[in-house]
């Protein structure tokens, strides 16, 4: 397989042809924050947290393939502040109640909030009125916590490729929804997968909760990204 050489903040990195900037960065021990990206599903570029500067232009690292000799700026003060702004936007756009959330400690958004030392968002809260859909078996969708990353839309499909989750409306009214018939036909494993793929607490599996106690969860001992950084 042909190997490409490129640079992130002046560090020489290697990439396989076809790899995106974030994938290649990970392999080279460089952390570029991601949120909507998820291994094994097609990148969507919805959150923009992985924005890097390539040849002076802002690009999403998760959707941009590496090219030979590419010069990538990652940890600049300007980009880090804009990334933090995105996290803050997500916190004010929805209604996030970390202390009582089943995903607390396993939540990527919360973990990024900590990593970027967000104290109080710079933006005023929007306090939207969003619904909780508990009408279906197996899962509950709490749209208050949804960040519309589309991981569930992209990653959870039926055997014949139908979307179980989808997007409704547009603009600030955009909401994730599910096909009730297809949700009813989901297996327990699929329902668990839907909950796990959700970076926040918007998709929750019914009946079981707080199985792993707080304090012993994914991001409780080390910040997000620390497994990548060398």
């Amino acid at each position: 397989m042909s190997e490409l050489t490129f640079f992130i903040d002046n560090k020489e990195c290697k990439a396989k042809k076809g790899q995106t900037i974030t994938e290649a960065a990970r392999d080279n021990g460089v952390y570029i924050p991601t949120l909507c990206d998820y291994p094994g599903i097609r990148p969507a570029g919805t959150c923009r947290i992985c924005t890097v500067k390539v040849n002076g232009r802002n690009m999403a690292g998760c959707t941009t393939p590496v090219e030979e000799g590419m010069i990538v700026e990652n940890k600049t003060a300007e980009l880090e502040d804009m990334r933090k702004a995105i996290i803050e936007m997500l916190f004010v756009e929805g209604n996030h109640m970390c202390p009582t959330c089943e995903k607390s400690g396993n939540c990527d958004l919360q973990a990024l909030g900590y990593r970027y030392t967000m104290m109080v968002p710079r933006f005023p809260y929007l306090w939207p009125s969003r619904e909780i859909d508990a009408s279906m078996p197996k899962i509950v969708i709490d749209k208050n916590r949804c960040i519309q990353c589309l991981r569930c839309v992209r990653g959870i499909t039926t055997a014949d490729g139908k979307h179980i989750f989808g997007t409704l409306h547009r603009g600030d009214k955009t909401r994730i929804s599910a096909d009730p018939e297809l949700v009813a036909a989901m297996t327990d494993e699929q329902a668990q997968k839907a909950m796990d793929i959700c970076p926040v607490g918007a998709i929750l599996k019914r009946e079981v909760g707080f199985k792993v106690p707080m304090g012993k969860r994914k991001y409780d001992s080390a910040p997000i990204g620390s497994d990548i950084e060398k």
Partner: protein, 602 residues
């Protein structure tokens, strides 16, 4: 409820269950039932083997589809800034009074629905509305009364059109009161043109010759972004694919632009021939005209033009008399979404999906419609192609400025004596333009629409061209009597409404900066608010995924830059009221440390 099943099944069958025709299926259901209910959505999904949520996603994405009933008569009244300037408020009130319900709702008997809509491409004849697909322009309160009386009496909407517009608006297939308002004709678009002459010349050479001629002309895309057309075609031609496509972007949605509407009405032959030339150049057999839903009233007429061109062998098998070159064009209707003017969103929509832009790479020229290499070109660009074929690239490039060759069609509206269409050479100064249109003395000009730039007097000496003041064609003149910040606010509401919602900075950011603007407009802002607003605009512009979010803060950002005093006048005179005197409290320690205090504002 048998009716729903019948209507849905008929709609689905008439498009052979083809998922790429989902928008057409939904439109047929909407037209027949006045809504696309949950039940209809479930049935469409079952019959087309799509998940319910995918069908519902499309229904709820487009402005002209509705899950709830919108009435036997549906009034869509333009709420763009120029409509407001031309008296939209009084017209809306008149509708509300006569119908007895407010905008965004349905009359008690469920017969008449009143809804707002983004710019419908009639800025030179506002206030204007679309009722059941029929356009009504220059509305007055008296006219509204007549229209509502007619609707209440059950009259046919098209029968209520009284005076027809000029040119082809009078055609039996259009019969519209829309006016062309062609104020100035130039040598590229509105000069005499012999149908068939461009394609004849194109097919006499090789596709490479055609691309070279367009490159020699230095033609750049007329939609606004200004990408070199020859280069785009070259990329598309070279891209590997079983098939190639030509798509014409007739989704002009930038508030204030209506030039494509006039081209489609008056010189569609030139446009379709340009598509055939593009097809020959890139190696495509199929062209798609993606027509915005607001221009539905032109569809039958355009179908007839296409038929005539087939008869003349400008389209069809061996098009232009070239053996082996088959090329035809079909029309795909949009359904009300500004974002579909973005080329990859347009392709998504043409494939029957939500009009969300795609990530790139791959670019449409590599993987576009149906995954095949596709060139998406603007209506005006393709007309210019026809002229360039006839007159030559050198002739075209002799006009305009260094990086902006040829002529440009401008849609001028707002506070001027002669709103309408002007074909001008690139490089005309704003001052000259304002004089021509009768808009001298303007406070500001919005050039390139809300996503462009708002400039004041200091910039009137600048040239209209890509290097100085670029535009896809929208020019809005704003007189001194207007409250500019209210216009800025109208533009921001437009972007909030039209964002596709895919990426965070555009979806949430536009709401956040608009809230901040409102705070300042209400007189509750401080210097800090203004500084934050400025820096937040940069975040939205810098982090958004596509052109919409990358330009949506422009109304705010460019007015802060060019009309800063308008904001400053609104600010509270103090930044922060506090009993704590920072300067005084650090005085002593500064003295000890032998430093001068560095505190902003002291």
């Amino acid at each position: 409820m048998g009716n729903i099943a019948e209507v849905v099944s008929k709609a689905v069958e008439s498009y052979q269950k083809d998922p790429t025709r989902l928008l057409d299926v939904i439109r047929d259901v909407q037209d027949a039932l006045g809504q696309v209910s949950d039940e209809a959505i479930v049935q469409i999904g079952h019959l087309m083997n799509l998940s319910k949520v995918d069908v519902e996603g499309v229904v709820t994405f487009y402005h002209f589809f509705s899950k709830s009933p919108v009435g036997k008569y549906t009034v869509y009244l333009n709420n763009s800034a120029v409509a407001v300037m031309m008296g939209r408020g009084a017209i809306a009130k008149a509708f509300e009074k006569e119908v007895g319900c407010s905008f965004g709702s349905l009359s008690e008997d469920g017969k008449i629905g009143l809804y707002d809509t983004s710019c419908i491409g009639m800025n030179d004849q506002e206030p204007a509305a679309i009722i059941n697909g029929v356009v009504f322009t220059n509305l007055t309160e008296k006219r509204v009364k007549e229209l509502v009386t007619g609707m209440k009496a059950g009259r046919n909407v098209s029968d209520m059109v009284k005076d027809l517009g000029d040119g082809n608006n009078q055609s039996e297939l259009v019969k519209s009161m829309v006016k062309n308002n062609i104020r100035q004709r130039g040598s590229v678009l509105f000069a005499p043109y012999e149908s068939g002459s461009a394609l004849r010349k194109a097919v006499a050479g090789t596709p490479e010759d055609v691309i070279n001629e367009i490159k020699n002309a230095e033609l750049r895309g007329r939609g606004g972004a200004g990408f070199p057309t020859g280069m785009k075609w070259d990329f598309c031609r070279r891209a590997q694919g079983e098939r190639h496509y030509v798509v014409c972007n007739a989704d002009e949605g930038e508030p204030g632009t209506f030039k494509d509407r006039v081209i489609l009405t008056e010189i569609p032959e030139m446009l379709f021939e340009g598509m055939a030339v593009a097809g020959y150049a890139v190696g495509a057999a199929e062209g798609i005209l993606y027509l915005r839903a607001e221009y539905m009233y032109l569809k039958k007429f355009l179908e007839k033009v296409l038929d005539d061109l087939r008869k003349k062998n400008i389209l069809g098998k061996n098009a232009g008399g070239k053996t082996g070159f088959d090329f035809d064009v079909k029309i795909q209707m949009g359904a009300g979404a500004y974002i579909c003017g973005e080329e990859s969103a347009l392709i998504q929509s043409a494939e029957g999906k939500r009009g969300e832009p795609r990530n790139r790479p791959p670019f449409p020229v590599q993987r576009g419609y149906g995954g095949y290499p596709t060139t998406v070109n603007n209506v005006e660009t393709l007309c210019a192609v026809s002229r360039i074929m006839v007159e030559g690239g050198k002739w075209f490039a002799s006009m305009g400025t260094v990086q902006s060759r040829g002529m440009k069609l401008l849609s001028v509206s707002g506070d001027c004596d002669k709103p309408g269409i002007y074909e001008v050479e690139w490089g005309i100064t704003l001052e000259q333009l304002l004089k021509t249109v009768g808009g001298s003395g303007a406070q500001a000009v919005v050039i390139g629409g809300p996503s462009g730039t708002i400039v004041g007097k200091e910039a009137f000496g600048k040239k209209v061209c890509y290097q100085e003041l670029g535009t896809g064609g929208s020019v809005i003149v704003i007189s001194k009597k207007r409250n500019l910040l209210e216009i800025v606010h109208n533009f921001m509401e437009f972007f909030i409404e039209e964002s596709c919602g895919w990426c965070v900075p555009c979806r949430a950011g536009n709401v956040i900066i608009t809230n901040k603007l409102e705070k300042i407009m209400a007189g509750n802002g401080t210097k800090t608010d203004l500084a934050e607003l400025e820096s937040w605009c940069k975040i939205v512009k810098g982090m958004s995924r596509c052109g919409l979010g990358q330009t949506s803060p422009n109304p705010i950002a460019t007015t802060i830059a060019n009309f800063r005093s308008l904001y400053e006048e609104k600010l509270k005179k103090v930044e922060y009221e506090t009993g704590f005197d920072l300067l005084k409290s650090v005085q002593e320690s500064c003295k000890v440390a032998n430093r001068k205090p560095k505190i902003e504002g002291h």
